[in-house]
């Protein structure tokens, strides 16, 4: 996707002197294109509901990449992690990675991945 950006933060004397405030934002047109892409991915996700008797494995293999793609698109574009100071990305990815790691350990300890779990 081509990127139209607008630079903000350098105009007025009242602007804070922060590097973080000098980043570029996508234009409104790009925000709308990103939203259309997100809506299309969501429509694909919802489409799996209408499949007849899909296996859980098929749903996981199909839906997880779509979910991760939506997550990354919102973080990158709407939350400006693509453009903003890398420190913000590091802080957020640290928290996210910690959560994923801790709860994978928890699920493993509770034998969640075993084929007979919950039955």
């Amino acid at each position: 996707m081509s990127v139209d950006t607008e630079e903000h933060g350098a105009a007025g004397p009242a602007e804070p002197d922060h590097e973080a405030h000098q980043h570029k934002h996508p234009s409104d047109r790009n925000y709308i294109l990103v939203a259309v892409l997100l809506a299309a991915i969501t429509a694909l996700e919802v489409g799996t509901y209408f499949l007849e008797d899909p296996s859980t494995t098929l749903l996981v293999v199909t839906l997880f990449p779509l979910m991760v793609a939506k997550f990354a698109i919102v973080c990158g574009w709407f939350m400006h992690l693509r453009y903003d100071n890398p420190l913000f990305k590091r802080v957020f990815v640290f928290g996210l990675s910690l959560a994923i790691g801790v709860y994978i350990v928890v699920l493993t300890a509770m034998q969640f991945w075993d084929s007979g779990y919950g039955t």
Binding site: E6, H8, G9, A11, G12, A14, E15, P16, D17, H18, E19, A20, H21, H25, P26, S27, D28, Y31, I32, A35, L38, A39, T42, E45, V46, T48, Y49, T56, L59, V60, L63, L66, M67, K70, F71, V74, C75, W77, F78, M79, H80, N85, L87, F88, V91, F92, F94, G95, L96, L98, A99, I100, V102, Y103, V106, L107, M110, F112, G118, T119
Partner: protein, 209 residues
């Protein structure tokens, strides 16, 4: 703190009154924005715990309705689109305030609040219909885990709506000009985070049986 440190972090009182940090920070980035990212990183742990708990407990019920008995995927899909669209209007509000277009920013802030309210109304309707179908908070362990997870998310959205309305009122009073754009941007981060949490919940809770 030493005198030298005070000198380094000197603040222009006129700007400080507007909530604008006119001083440099030791990290080179806005402290308020960094604090929001730290909060969002820590909130990942909260929702990670709630989602993991739901995954562990959802098929452990011995009585009462289960996920497949109560979920209305088409209805929840519409709610998901509504929340997704609210992220777009929030991003447009941030873009508008950075350009100095206060009127447009105000309109998008209010639209975002209305879309968030629509989402919450949908959640209230969903919870009510589940209760009518026999799934209360204490009916079974699936109900407890489901209501706790989606309820926490709903509280986050509700807090966001209150903050959106306060930003809207601040803007109407003329106190939310381009010099306060960072406040809108920081709130936008919170709103988008609520959206990405729903992206996870919609897939893991609703779409994967």
């Amino acid at each position: 703190m030493t005198d030298a440190a005070f000198a380094t972090h000197d603040v222009d009182p006129a700007l400080h009154d507007k909530g604008v940090p006119s001083h440099g920070t030791s990290t080179g980035v806005s402290n308020e924005k960094l604090a929001m990212w730290v909060f969002l990183g820590s909130d990942c742990l909260l929702f990670g715990g709630l989602i993991s708990t739901y995954l562990l407990l959802r098929h452990r019920s011995v009585a009462g309705p289960g996920p497949q008995d109560v979920f209305d995927i088409p209805f929840t899909s519409v709610s998901s689109f509504v929340l997704l669209f609210s992220s777009l209007t929030m991003a447009l509000a941030v873009g508008a305030i950075h350009r100095g277009d206060e009127r447009r920013s105000r309109t998008f802030l209010l639209t975002t609040a209305l879309l968030g309210s629509t989402f919450i109304a949908g959640q209230v309707y969903e919870f009510t219909s589940f209760v009518k179908e026999g799934l209360g908070y204490t009916t079974n362990i699936f109900g407890s885990a489901f209501y706790t997870l989606t309820g926490f998310h709903g509280v986050h959205v509700s807090v966001g709506i209150i903050l959106l309305l306060s930003l809207f009122v601040t803007s109407v009073r003329g106190n939310l000009g381009p010099e306060r754009a960072e406040s809108v941007e920081i709130f936008g981060l919170y709103w988008h985070f609520v959206d990405i949490v729903w992206i996870l919940i919609f897939t893991v809770v609703y779409l994967i049986p």
